[in-house]
């Protein structure tokens, strides 16, 4: 990891290129309460970054700010060099950001394959009438989407369940399907909100391999929120620790593990919550 502009660190291999995500002094207030305060972070082009912190620290709020679910009170976000202010959620997706949700948000009543295809709804030119009358454009799109969807599902061993209803999948598969769906929109930055929640240790281990594989195969950056410290310390290159909406530490897994402020924040939480 190497420092950049004195604002953060990014992996050495990404040093020659501008960061995929450049967040400066982000703040958001909810009814007088500052939920995120002066959040500044850089993420490299192919970095796996972790965002950790006690419950209620504001981690998901940061994701919601990044995807314009909430409007920041102050500060700015550059995604791939472009200011995200005023963009709608789907425009941001087109700029290269895709996410999963802490509380799974699949299209439960649609098939697994269709879930993935929904996120591929760009780069095709077949119009509504073309599709209604099943002109050649419709056949081409359907074929391409079908092939691509199965390829992506296969990465997470879901191709065999392509015709099942998403809502009927077991929990772990639902989490994986959300990742595949996010991937299908061809993001440059993938946000994963507690991807290992509810998974057993062997599933988590497999997930770690998969996340590395995504970074290597697709050359994308991944930012994840996770409570499973084995996963975070195992795959993240840069980690930011959030407490009461503020970043209290940034660094490599080794630096974070030995940082007294972080230990204090976590111990305080564990004492309070008996966790």
């Amino acid at each position: 990891m190497v420092p950049l502009d004195g604002l953060g660190i990014i992996p050495e291999r990404d040093a020659g290129r501008p960061p995929i995500l450049d967040i400066r002094h982000l703040c958001v207030d909810f009814g007088g309460l500052r939920a995120v305060d002066d959040f500044t972070l850089l993420i490299g082009r192919t970095e796996i970054a972790g965002l950790i912190g006690p419950n209620g620290a504001g981690k998901t709020t940061v994701f919601n700010l990044l995807t314009n679910v909430y409007k920041p009170t102050q500060g700015r976000i550059l995604l791939n060099g472009q200011d995200t202010r005023g963009k709608s959620m789907h425009q941001l997706n087109r700029l290269g950001i895709a996410r999963t949700f802490q509380n799974i948000r699949l299209f439960a009543g649609m098939s697994v394959e269709d879930n993935v295809k929904v996120a591929m709804n760009h780069g095709y030119t077949d119009g509504v009438l073309t599709d209604m009358f099943r002109l050649p454009g419709w056949w081409r799109t359907e074929r391409r989407q079908h092939v691509r969807a199965l390829e992506l599902l296969d990465l997470f061993n879901l191709a065999g369940k392509a015709n099942a209803l998403a809502g009927n999948l077991p929990y772990g598969d639902q989490r994986r399907l959300e990742i595949v769906r996010a991937l299908a929109s061809e993001p440059k930055l993938l946000l994963l909100d507690e991807p290992a929640a509810g998974m057993n240790p062997s599933e988590t281990h497999e997930l770690m391999d998969n996340i590395r594989m995504l970074r290597d195969e697709f050359g994308i950056a991944i930012m994840l929120i996770e409570h499973d410290m084995n996963l975070v310390m195992g795959i993240c290159e840069g980690i930011a620790v959030l407490n009461y909406g503020k970043i209290i530490a940034k660094g490599t897994p080794r630096e974070i593990q030995t940082n007294p402020v972080v230990i204090e924040a976590y111990l305080g939480e564990e004492a309070g919550h008996d966790a």
Binding site: T67, A98, F101, L106, G109, V118, D131
Partner: protein, 335 residues
């Protein structure tokens, strides 16, 4: 799935086309032969019109998950649009097609004009705005007698809605709605119903697709309105009240939100029943009201849930000898 025999695409299309063609010609011959009396053939035409109304409302309610309450308004503008054109043109196949298209287009224009402001907003505003729209249309029809004939109605509309015209239109419309829903655009619409935030963050332009679904719904309501005009020969503002919209909604809800087959069956039953049982009429609205409440509380998915009928699927199962063995499971999976 290995070894499961499938019917080739061209054969599927051929089978479906032949069957529907046989239905159209057979029905036409039956009506022409006089085996069906006047009252019965009137019921048959009404059923076709209500099928299209229910199937079109299902696009906005079942597929998109919104609740427009002014479907009768779209039916009205389509009906008056087509009627005025037909009154001005000599009878010809071209005039009939033109009138049906015009009815649909007029309704679609209204759909865009109402849909754009209403669908930008989150929440139940579409219900209110469409309800208001339905009322405004009625007030306009009453107060512009020069064009619409006012309260007494628009009379002497050429009766173009024969069995062949009605059912060809209905079948074509249903087919087009079906193909739309089985495309990337249709999947985007369904995704909005399933989870709007996830759809939006997966890159679906939700406003565009909401307006699209709403406009398609309005278009086919307009076509149905045109058929209605050509069936009754007279249009009055009383044909297009809030109760008409509710009638159509009952069909969609009862059939199953999101099931075209359900809409078709419910529209058929609910149109034929009051005409068949005159005594039923007195209690009809009370029963409809109870049905709406009971369905929502006890079986929100309606009669058929989201099941959609596919002849090919049944044939394929027959070929593979699994019709009964796996019918239930497959129905659940694909519904």
């Amino acid at each position: 799935m290995n070894g499961y025999k499938q019917i080739p695409v061209y054969l599927r299309y051929l089978i479906n086309t032949l069957l529907l063609g046989a239905f159209l010609l057979g029905g036409n011959a039956l009506l022409a032969s006089g085996a069906v009396n006047r009252a019965q053939s009137a019921v048959i035409l009404q059923i076709g019109i209500y099928i299209l109304l229910a199937v079109s409302l299902n696009v906005a309610t079942g597929y998109l998950g919104q609740l427009p309450l002014g479907h009768a308004g779209f039916m009205a503008v389509g009906g008056y649009g087509a009627a005025l054109l037909w009154k001005a043109m000599p009878r010809s196949a071209g005039a009939i097609v033109l009138g049906l298209l015009l009815g649909g287009l007029v309704a679609a224009v209204f759909g865009v004009v109402i849909g754009v402001p209403a669908l930008r907003l989150k929440g139940d505003y579409l219900a209110i705005i469409t309800l208001g729209f339905g009322e405004i249309i009625r007030v306009l029809i009453i107060n512009l007698p020069g064009i619409t004939g006012g309260t007494p109605g628009l009379m002497n509309i050429p009766k173009h809605s024969s069995f062949l015209v009605v059912y060809t239109t209905v079948i074509l419309s249903c087919a087009l709605i079906h193909t739309l829903m089985k495309s990337r655009h249709g999947r985007a619409i369904l995704a909005i119903r399933e989870n709007e935030i996830a759809a939006e963050s997966s890159g679906v332009n939700t406003t565009f697709y909401k307006v699209l679904a709403f406009t398609v719904s309005a278009f086919f309501a307009g076509v149905a309105g045109a058929l209605y005009a050509g069936y009754t020969g007279i249009l009055t503002p009383g044909n297009f009240t809030f109760m008409t919209s509710v009638n159509i909604l009952v069909m969609v809800v009862l059939g199953g939100l999101g099931s075209m087959a359900g809409s078709v069956i419910a529209a058929t039953i609910l149109t034929a029943l009051p005409l068949a049982l005159q005594s039923f009429n007195k209690y009809r609205m009370v029963i409809y009201a109870l049905l709406l409440i009971a369905v929502m509380i006890f079986k929100p998915s309606g009669l058929l849930g989201r099941y959609d009928f596919s002849l090919t699927r049944i044939l394929e199962k027959l070929i593979n000898g699994q019709l009964f063995a796996r019918a239930k499971k497959a129905g659940e999976d694909r519904a």
